[in-house]
């Protein structure tokens, strides 16, 4: 089964979506098996495709689309190593999450709709990584945004969920507009939407510097929106209103990384825009910091994970901005697995706690849900980047790349962010699983069902073991080498002592430090920071008041403008323009009707006078 069949991946999932939508009510379990069957098939196909790519290398296929004059828009698929990696990630995590959802979403009245949405999302995501046409890519990008909106607002009875979905959509929309403009700039500069064509032109120097930089900057703004970079990150924490499987799949492993993937896909072009890449790296670093910082002050379990995701995304963006595209993708891969695992674990906890997510009310869950505890711990260790988890290797690669391309200060900053990661992770684990149970729900919690545990365990394997992919042994030159993304040169994995040892020390060291800090305080008392620096704490706890700032902007700028435009539309366009002619006609009618006197005499008089005038005119003309 060669990779020319890759189009089956989105097609199968899309077909599943349609089938569930129309036939779901006739099938048992409302169509969920259809979704799982399709994604399992995709998972199986992935292995076939992988063997094909590993032996023969990546290839592109073209399917001609349409032609209008001298503009021809064609559609094709490109399956190279990068696409393969993404396919693997999406199918694996989707499969795990969907099986998990069988247990988690049981009993929900919109069970079938959930799986339909999941299938649609899988289809869009798989299509996204396959296409080589920017326009189709954009369409699919929008589609995944739509699925995200629908799934965040899945519990539509909840006001907060609806608001969160709206927020996610609107914030990412701002980015999407920039993305579209960027794509269009590229189109006008090159005359094509095809990525391979654009890269060729860029390499040959046929695109002007300004166009390249402009489009790259705009595209990055679009990516920043979906990838929750600062300052577009505000939607991600709120997106936790969606069900936990959704958070696991979409907001940890796939949708938010679609942008990162896109950066890697565009790498042949981005090597020509170093200025933009500087900004990219800066944004990534800031995001990594802010995310970690904010995660320290959250009390909601899923929100800690959300900010953690934001922070890790920042690291990936930092890697991309430092021309370490391979390292960034590797971290994308490992993060996808362990973050999904963590989210599924959080879902289990939430299920056990009857929907409660406030960590202050948890505690001691280690005893009642041991398997979840162990798996969650594995995920957490990978998140901190403890050796020998996969997270260590991917983070290490990023730091190495940053050191190579940029300077040591950035590496130090990256290490600091890692340190903060350790702190908040430890805090999280402590508050949830260790110590004494702090509430009734915590005491009565129960372990999850096998349907939910099995996928989590499945995700645990790559969490622990995927690190080996980074190394080079035998013919395999390491993950980044496997991807062979630009810039050229060897991407072989190497251990840089200046990074390796400090990273090790920091991660383990802060683990222990955090343990000491929080263990004593696993009772419900404010931390040292909170008591000593209350304003700083409030600043962080309120997410830097960014949400309030945005709301203020919306209220005072956006709504004001839209209200005045609405007023203009109503008063001028509607009342004067549309009603105007009507009213005018009525006015004319009202005025002119007085000539209908009803008396014959006036009518005949009019005729006589007109006839006389007519004769006069005729005579005068002649």
């Amino acid at each position: 089964m060669g990779i020319e069949w890759a189009w089956l991946l989105p097609a199968l999932c899309g077909g599943a979506f349609a089938s569930i939508l129309f036939l779901g009510r006739y099938t048992p379990l409302r169509g969920a098996p259809i979704a799982i069957a399709s994604i399992a098939t995709c998972f199986a196909l992935f292995w076939f495709f992988m063997s094909d790519v590993v032996t023969d290398g990546g290839r592109s296929f073209e399917r001609f689309w349409f032609e209008a004059g001298d503009i021809s828009i064609s559609l094709g698929m490109t399956i190279d190593e990068l696409a393969l990696v993404m396919i693997g990630l999406v199918t694996t995590v989707s499969l795990a999450v969907q099986i998990y959802s069988l247990g988690y979403m049981r009993g929900d009245p919109r069970f079938g709709w959930f799986f339909a949405m999941m299938s649609l999302f899988a289809a869009s995501m798989l299509g996204l990584v396959l296409v080589d046409n920017l326009l189709v890519f954009y369409v699919l990008w929008e589609l995944i945004g739509l699925c995200s909106y629908l799934l965040i607002g899945f519990y539509s009875e909840r006001r907060s969920a609806a608001e969160a979905a709206k927020k996610a959509f609107i914030v990412t929309r701002i980015g999407d507009v920039a993305l579209l403009i960027g794509i269009l700039v590229l189109f006008t500069a090159t005359g094509t939407f095809e990525m391979s064509e654009i890269f060729a032109q860029a390499d040959a120097g046929e695109i002007s510097k300004s166009n390249l930089n402009l489009s790259a900057a705009l595209i990055f703004i679009g990516i920043a929106g979906k990838a929750a970079q600062f300052p577009f990150h505000v939607w991600l924490p709120d997106a936790m209103e969606g069900p936990s499987p959704v958070s696991a799949l979409i907001h940890a492993a796939t949708l938010v990384v679609a942008g990162i993937y896109f950066l890697a896909r565009l790498s042949p072009m981005l090597v020509h825009t170093p200025g933009v890449l500087d900004s990219v790296a800066a944004v990534g670093l800031v995001t990594a910091f802010v995310g970690a910082f904010l995660a320290l002050t959250q009390n909601d379990l899923k929100r800690v994970l959300a900010y953690s995701t934001m922070s890790q995304l920042g690291l990936m963006v930092l890697a991309m901005g430092s021309l370490s595209f391979g390292a960034g993708i590797f971290h994308l891969l490992t993060h996808g697995f362990f973050k999904a695992l963590l989210f599924l674990g959080a879902g289990t906890v939430m299920h056990a706690m009857n929907g409660e997510l406030d960590m202050r009310k948890m505690g001691g869950l280690r005893r009642v849900m041991p398997i979840t505890y162990v798996l969650f711990l594995l995920g957490s260790f990978s998140l901190i980047g403890l050796f020998p988890m996969s997270g260590f290797f991917s983070k290490d690669e990023i730091l190495v790349g940053v050191l190579d391309e940029r300077n040591g200060w950035l590496v130090a900053a990256g290490l600091a962010a890692s340190g903060m990661t350790a702190l908040y992770v430890v805090r999280m684990v402590l508050m949830v699983f260790l110590g004494e149970s702090r509430s009734e729900e915590a005491r009565n919690a129960h372990e999850a069902t096998p349907t939910m545990l099995a996928p989590m365990a499945a995700l645990g394997l790559p969490t622990v073991g995927l690190g080996v992919l980074a190394l080079n042994w035998g013919n395999f030159g390491g993950f980044a080498e496997f991807l062979h993304l630009p810039p050229g040169g060897s991407h072989e994995y190497k251990i840089v002592p200046e990074i390796f040892w400090p990273s090790l020390v920091i991660s383990y060291g802060l683990l222990i430090l955090g343990w000491r800090m929080y263990y004593r305080r696993s009772r419900l008392t404010p931390s040292i920071v909170e008591s000593r620096y209350p304003r700083l704490y409030a600043f962080a706890a309120n997410k830097f008041y960014l949400d309030d700032l945005y709301q203020w902007i919306v209220n005072n700028v956006v709504l004001v403008v839209s209200r005045s435009i609405a007023l203009f539309d109503q008063r001028v366009v509607n009342d004067k323009g549309v009603d105007g002619p009507g009213k005018f006609t009525a006015f004319v009618g009202r005025t002119l009707r007085y000539h209908e006197t009803g008396v014959i005499g006036t009518y005949i008089l009019t005729i006589a006078v007109t006839a006389t005038l007519a004769i006069l005119i005729m005579v005068a003309v002649n």
Partner: protein, 163 residues
């Protein structure tokens, strides 16, 4: 000769539109129409003159007089002229001025030498070349006849009668 007859015609016309007495007005019209018939004779159309006298003098005036009789209004002494008489005067004179100006401005050709049109010739023309309009005219008369009868019928509605 022509001037005399035309004077009578014009005088009759003036009388028709001036006099306050309805019957006199009808009679003045009769005078005018007869004078017009005379004009017809002068311009080689005796048949038309006969038609004129017959139809107008015989039928139309009689009908008018009948109608006058049937629509007698109480207090007939009232003015027959409408409120807009002055304007009418203006309009009428305006029209006259325009028409006469038109007539006098143009140069008309000299008359052709004419013979009186024979009756047989007229008849054959009427029934061959102008047969269709002839038939249509008779149809028109039929319609007018029926229409007049229908319109002038007394509407006999007694209570409980649906006719």
């Amino acid at each position: 000769m022509f001037f005399a007859i035309s004077t009578i015609a014009i005088a009759g016309g003036i009388g028709t539109v001036i006099t306050p007495n309805v019957v006199y007005a009808a009679l003045f019209l009769l005078l005018s129409l007869l004078a017009v018939a005379g004009i017809y004779i002068l311009i080689f159309s005796p048949f038309l003159a006969l038609v004129q006298i017959l139809i107008y003098g015989g039928a139309v005036i009689v009908v008018v007089l009948f109608a006058l009789m049937l629509t007698r209004q109480s207090g007939e002494a009232g003015n027959l002229d409408s409120r807009q008489k002055p304007i009418a005067f203006v309009a009428g004179s305006g029209m006259l001025a325009v028409l006469i100006a038109t007539v006098l401005k143009n140069s008309w050709p000299d008359p052709v030498d004419r013979q009186v049109v024979g009756l047989t010739e007229l008849g054959s023309e009427l029934f061959t070349r102008w047969a269709v309009p002839f038939e249509l005219a008779s149809l028109l008369l039929l319609v007018a006849l029926i229409g007049a009868i229908v319109l002038a019928r007394p509407s006999d509605k007694r209570p409980g009668d649906n006719s």
